[in-house]
Symmetry: C2
Amino acid sequence: MSLEKVCIIGSGNWGSAVAKLIGTNTQRHGNLFESSVRQWVFEEKVNGENLTDIINREHENIKYLQGIKLPENIVAVPSVVDACKDATLVVFVVPHQFVRGVCEQMKGHLAPNARAISLIKGLEITSSGTRLFSEEIERILNVPCAALSGANIADEVAKEKFCESTIGCPNVQDGELFYRLFDTDYFRINVIQDHVGVQLCGALKNVVAGKNIMTLYPPPQTQPLPLSLSLFLLVGAGFTDGLGYGSNTKAAIIRRGLMEMRKFGQMFFGDMVQTETFFESCGAADLITTCSGGRNRKVAEAFVTTGKPIDVLEKELLNGQKLQGTLSAAEVHEFLSARNMTAEFPLFNTVYRIVFENAPVECIVRDI
Amino acid sequence: MSLEKVCIIGSGNWGSAVAKLIGTNTQRHGNLFESSVRQWVFEEKVNGENLTDIINREHENIKYLQGIKLPENIVAVPSVVDACKDATLVVFVVPHQFVRGVCEQMKGHLAPNARAISLIKGLEITSSGTRLFSEEIERILNVPCAALSGANIADEVAKEKFCESTIGCPNVQDGELFYRLFDTDYFRINVIQDHVGVQLCGALKNVVAGKNIMTLYPPPQTQPLPLSLSLFLLVGAGFTDGLGYGSNTKAAIIRRGLMEMRKFGQMFFGDMVQTETFFESCGAADLITTCSGGRNRKVAEAFVTTGKPIDVLEKELLNGQKLQGTLSAAEVHEFLSARNMTAEFPLFNTVYRIVFENAPVECIVRDI
């Protein structure tokens, strides 16, 4: 059996943490994988030097994951075509808005039996329908695409703090292979078949709750905030600090959110979406983590204390990386409205009303 | 249809918060309930006066729920027999060690059609088997007994902070009645039929994780700590503050705990225990709350900062009330050992090894 040739598409904070996992595992499982792993790095100048050159010399992504050494078998490559050439396993970990463009460039360059896995937390949703990023990758590249999602704050993973993650892969054999590619003693993988549910969890958690921080915290924002941030502000900080609710209330909102996520999944994606998935790391655990900290907390706190706009804080605090969360309450609302179904999702609907219709924040406990 | 006559057995912190809910609802639903509600109060002297006299004059349980007014239709009664005489709905909210004795006294005094509901978080478990408190109540008093459990920190409920709770009641009509008795706009009830699962959740969450705080925090304790406290120290404080783990890790332990709770329930109580129950307030939400604060936090913080024994702190900080959590890792371990099944519950087992066999705390992330 020939060895799997792995490539990683993306090199941000999460992509770099993942490169550390994958580089370690391709060495560890030499019977399955070629040791060398090419990682596509969006080229940019750092201190006057190419980021790829720095990574290949220092074995560290000094811009997006400072202080963490990468295995030496990770090779940074500035051309996406060179990076993916003849790859048999492709790991997508790029910002969602790059997926389509990158895939178009990769067309025709993968090995014929290639398989992909998407680490992108998101879902495209419009009034006419939904599209998962795994579907987009499958459609453009004509390869099967699994998904990985979990309670995985990148910096903590990079520092080898114990956590779990979920891989959704309909093909059992491929699932086993991805398990070997990602699982370590501090990053524990559960493989399930429901790749749709895994992606839905990652996308919808950001809509569980949003808050009109325009109301609570000056100055007024002109653009809708990322809902991952709103979620944190609402559940993690807003309630206790701002409105004086307690931990019972937080837990209730988290729980209701989980229920509406599942209902949404099963209503619009059908039986493919398993109840069990919501017990996985990608479900309940990720929602709990999102509500308690990570990059959201960092930016949220600065937002409250400095009043600077979110994009400025992303530049200052995250080196220009964006907060995760592609899906907004507005998009979900538009989708549900078109189907006359907003009443079936009282939490999603209330979040929308608070953020966009100036409903009082207290509605979150009154109307759900 | 004659009106239901409600009595409350118990008047601690939770019992008093519940009396406020019930007193309000019997007035609100005058078509279902007699307004007047008798509450059995364990008589004691407070400032030289009977606690029952104080409650009936001030409409406040100044010892266990200071600062919260009770509805005037709540009548404190020092005799349990007088309190329960001819009652048709009996609410049990006493410490678990009183259940048997109190039920024995009540025998023969309830109305013939009486039904009960247990708010006691616990489960008796020995190597020979398990017994739910609802079963104990049913056995002694020969009445059907439902259960209520949820993410319900008493002080927050008393202050009308929004939360949810779960009632497990096999009989649908009785479930509807209990719904009316407890549900308010800030205390939202979901009724399900799985009363066994509801009680298991409340009991097992305290075993999800324990920690050898004897190891981490001096001075050595001579008696095993309540596991509700251990849980908080481990997940809520111990890891982040003591061992440097992050929120991913906390979420992973909470999730694994939920999974082992469900597995335990379904393995030893069979199909009666529904997966859905673990999505209810009594399941995931209560576990999240337990890991984030409440009385556990208060006592745990004082334990760490003062080093005083737990029973002293309970006296000082909780007016002598006990931390909840009747079930210890040792009891569960004994039960599982007798069945040769400790390996099937790696989290429960690891907690036991840390607390009683001096295994290093790091095992919690290495061995689960």
